[in-house]
Point group: C2
Chain length 279, copies 2
């Protein structure tokens, strides 16, 4: 797998929305800003509204993708699937999936060929779009419980790593699990696991904490997606299954065509994060 197609997206940007909190008030305003050309990472935008990973594949690959997600629910929790060619979703009626993300990735035969701001010109009437839960959704719950979020403190995209853990394959779809990492003070690791464990629709409890080499990560300083984040003394690296996993599977499985979000540039839905909390 070529590292050159995996790095931080070519569209840089700050972690917080321009114009301050007022500009980030609602999901419609956020999507309008991205439709108008902003390529900023979506972390911090429309707080309280669920952000999702996006992957669109031709209809004849949709069963394998859906089954891959069903068989790997920790990295790939499916929140909605569109009908072929559909450009909207029940999670955000009125939004346009082709224009309302900050940045996209276009894939041909598993190779990243383009990273455009919108994909209207690349759209196909046979594309089925999968909306997949994102760990951003549980960050409000972590913050509320006093678990510090180092990547937000440092105004960076969360770091993501390809592991050596294979996903359970489905038809033509196969690939390794991708994880996001957050440094957590050792005494709060249990709290973080308990809180996120109550949100199985957005990756649930961590899949690993501690030594990164145990899951095939050689260097925390060189994430495969996103930005490296500095740990503080006493922090332990905690790893959650990540919704970029389908992108890694696209790279490995080489469908003839696919469109995904650019890492960290998510689709912002109208759904409140609380909906995915098991009470």
């Amino acid at each position: 797998m070529s590292r050159t197609t995996q790095g931080t997206p070519a569209v840089p940007g700050p972690a917080s929305p321009p114009g301050g909190p007022a500009a980030a008030a609602g999901p419609e305003e956020a999507r309008a800003a991205f439709r108008a050309g902003s390529t900023a990472p979506t972390s911090g935008w429309a707080p309280g509204c669920t952000q999702v990973n996006i992957i669109s594949v031709p209809r004849d690959w949709a069963y394998d993708v859906l089954l891959f997600c069903q068989r790997n629910p920790r990295p790939c929790p499916v929140l909605d699937v569109t009908d072929p060619g559909e450009t909207s979703t029940v999670l955000a009626p009125g939004a346009d999936l082709r224009t309302d993300l900050p940045a996209y990735r276009v894939w041909e035969d598993g190779e990243l060929v383009e990273e455009p701001e919108e994909v209207t010109g690349r759209w196909r009437n046979d594309l089925v779009t999968f909306l997949i839960g994102c760990s951003f959704t549980f960050e409000w719950a972590l913050a509320g419980a006093g678990v510090p979020l180092r990547h937000l403190e440092q105004e960076r995209n969360v770091p993501m790593y390809v592991t050596d853990r294979p996903c359970r394959p489905a038809g033509q779809m196969h690939g390794p699990m991708v994880v996001s990492m957050r440094p957590v003070p050792e005494e709060l690791v249990g709290t973080a696991a308990r809180i996120t464990g109550r949100m199985p629709a957005v990756h649930g409890a961590p899949v690993h904490s501690g030594d990164p080499s145990r899951i095939g990560i050689a260097d925390l300083g060189s994430p495969d997606f996103g930005d490296a984040v500095d740990a503080r003394p006493g922090d332990v690296p905690v790893f959650w299954a990540c919704g970029v996993t389908p992108q890694a599977a696209v790279m490995a499985s080489r469908p003839p065509f696919a469109i995904t979000h650019a890492p960290g540039r998510m689709f912002i839905t109208d759904v409140r994060d609380e909906r995915y909390l098991v009470p």
Copy 2:
């Protein structure tokens, strides 16, 4: 929809396993008894092991069934999907899905044509089998919290009803939501909702409690599947989404061929019920 194809299965039997608790000790022993010819309902067998609904459809219907389940997770929580023609599942390695249930239903063009004890002769190499969560899984948790289970007290199959609530359709698959009903003492309805809400993989919290006519049920005494159950004074009818919903969709959507379990005659897996409890 013809009532004559929906009633209590033709294979009657007691709610408890023959031979007492020892005979019900493990899932392998239970499956062996059904393979050997027992047609008893599975409630009370292999306590602590997860029982699942089964639906097998030809490969060219599998995407619509999987998407139907994804779009209707309350009635249709998918716990596993086999590859085409496969006769076993990761949830019970070594079991045979064609023989290890007490009774099956065979459907042609949406019509019930047969209710055999095994389906080896009806098997096809293009069949994809869906294993769908069952409310039996949360009954141990209800009992543990002091919520009485009237159908078990009365040694009956749980009653199930077709509602007037349509599921969200998916391709060719459409149909109404089916619910199971348990009479619950009024002061315990909140407890029952809280406990089952923590088990979203096995239908989660109730979809309704109280007046049955609000969800299109005319007469609690005439269930569409299973047995009528007597309420005690002070009981409130509480309704949970039910894994028989895909059978109702098969009746409505008329795939050319399908095999399902007979209501109340589930497939017993090796998985412990606790696995589906969100901590």
